[in-house]
């Protein structure tokens, strides 16, 4: 199996604060990789780096064999045609209808005629069960519909890589389960490699081929669903069982923080 995504030794900082500490990750072709972790674990930062939105301090990120940390603007542009991203809040353009939103990548990357683009966009809207709703504005959609519309836009170019940020955040369990089904369906029908960032355990266990657990900017564990469930790592088990963190308190450091010294 060739790797669709290959991250090596990724180190990133926010200002002087270390966010990701020597992260390594591999996602196979046609695989669904779930990146899990609590708030502040660095999973959103990792996603931003995978998308080429931020520049890392060091390390390499290869997408479809191309190292995006050294790629030229033209190479990056070509690569972006093979990537689809569904953002947490949808990130649909408020001034455009849903159909226009879905058509945008086609309009910017292809020279198809208007009619063909509209048909292709409507086909993707059918895939995400939003058929016939293309004329609506994003402000007229519910939370679940926005996520599905964003997904339709992400897959309209038939990308090889699909990134999904927090698919279940803010959705009720039924809608969120429907989205999970949709992600599985997409992988099976279009053979995409999919990276999902989430902190929802149920969703992660349902869709993942493998799971990577991040904590404090380090990878705790990468493995199949069963391996993660049976992991003996304390932090992993804390995450799985929703236990609060048991951090040891260093009395001196605590005092220093309080006194601002």
């Amino acid at each position: 199996m060739t790797a669709a995504i290959e991250v090596r030794d990724l180190v990133t900082h926010y200002g002087s604060r270390l966010i990701l500490d020597h992260v390594a990750l591999e996602v196979g072709s046609g695989e669904i990789m779930v990146i899990m972790g609590g708030s502040g674990s660095g999973k959103s930062t990792l996603l931003r780096h995978l998308l080429g939105l931020n520049r890392p301090t060091s390390g390499s990120i290869k997408l479809l064999g191309q190292d995006i940390t050294t790629a030229s603007a033209a190479e990056m542009h070509a690569l972006r045609r093979n990537m689809g991203v569904s953002f947490q809040g949808g990130a649909l353009f408020g001034s455009m209808s849903v159909l226009e939103n879905v058509m945008l990548p086609l309009r910017e990357h292809t020279e198809l005629d208007e009619q063909t683009m509209a048909i292709m966009a409507r086909m993707k809207l059918e895939v995400v069960s939003l058929g016939g709703l293309g004329h609506l504005l994003p402000s007229q959609l519910s939370g679940g519909m926005i996520k599905r519309a964003a997904l339709a836009r992400a897959i309209v170019m038939d990308p090889k890589l699909l990134f999904f940020d927090e698919p279940s955040a803010g959705l009720d369990p039924v809608v969120s389960a429907e989205l999970d089904e949709l992600i599985l369906k997409l992988r099976d029908s279009m053979r995409m490699s999919i990276v999902v960032v989430t902190h929802e355990l149920d969703s992660a266990f349902k869709i993942a081929d493998r799971i990577t657990v991040l904590d404090h900017g380090r990878i705790l564990l990468t493995g199949t669903v069963a391996e993660v469930r049976n992991s003996s790592n304390q932090r992993v088990q804390d995450l799985l069982n929703r236990r609060p963190r048991q951090e040891e308190i260093d009395a001196d450091a605590y005092l220093r923080r309080l006194t601002g010294g």
């Binding site: 080429g52 939105l53 972006r80 990130a91 353009f93 910017e108 990357h109």
Partner: protein, 271 residues
Amino acid sequence: MAEGARPALFVALERLGRVSVELVEEFGYYLALCVECVYWLAMGTLRRQPVRVSATVQQMVEVGLAGLPIIFMLSFAIGVMLAIQGIHTLKQFGAQTQVVLGIALSVTREFGPLMTGIVVAGRSGSSLAARIGTMSINQEIDALRVMGINPVRYLVAPVMVAMLIMMPLMALFADFAALFGGALFCKLELGLSYRAFWDQTVNFLAVDDIMQGLAKSVVFALVVALVGVSNGFSVTGGADGLGRATTRAVVLSISYIVLTDMFFTYFLNRG
């Protein structure tokens, strides 16, 4: 005391240093935005990522046409005020009829473009900062980037072109509106016919006077677009940050407009 004074001085110096660095950084950012816009306008088609004509036209309508009524109203009022003040001043020398010269020169060289700049800064500068800021908060800018759509090419270049085309046209429109205001008041107060007002105006004005005003308006266009856009892109921290950026965009662009106007006027009138 000495111990207390030293840190205070240091703090003040540090603040001064920080503000200076921020200022240089901000102007550097304006310059970079400018260069990137020019790049996309020149090379966009070649790289198969053209700056869309439709988006530019849409911006021209938003920046220009929609602002015409308010510009007419304010410029007209300025024209009337210049006439009132001019007649009042010149009356003391018994030279009221010379008021046309004063109105014609100050309107075309100064007030037409300045009024236009301020109105556009208030209308379009703020809406630009708010629009781009909201897009930034909603990750729409990120969405554009991951789709391989350069935000400067897609969002900024059309605005820049629209401003550069519309601002001088609107300044010209403001010139006419203000002259009309002046002419109307002169007719009522001095019994000067429109025809006579117009003839005198055309007689006095050189092409240079009008061009000076239009050249200023081009600079104002750049100022409003760059300040609005850069404040929009720099929005962080939700609704609060958005409000701050919008206010900042308007206050800064109006300040820059008045300041550049002063320098421009000084240098253009030295000879």
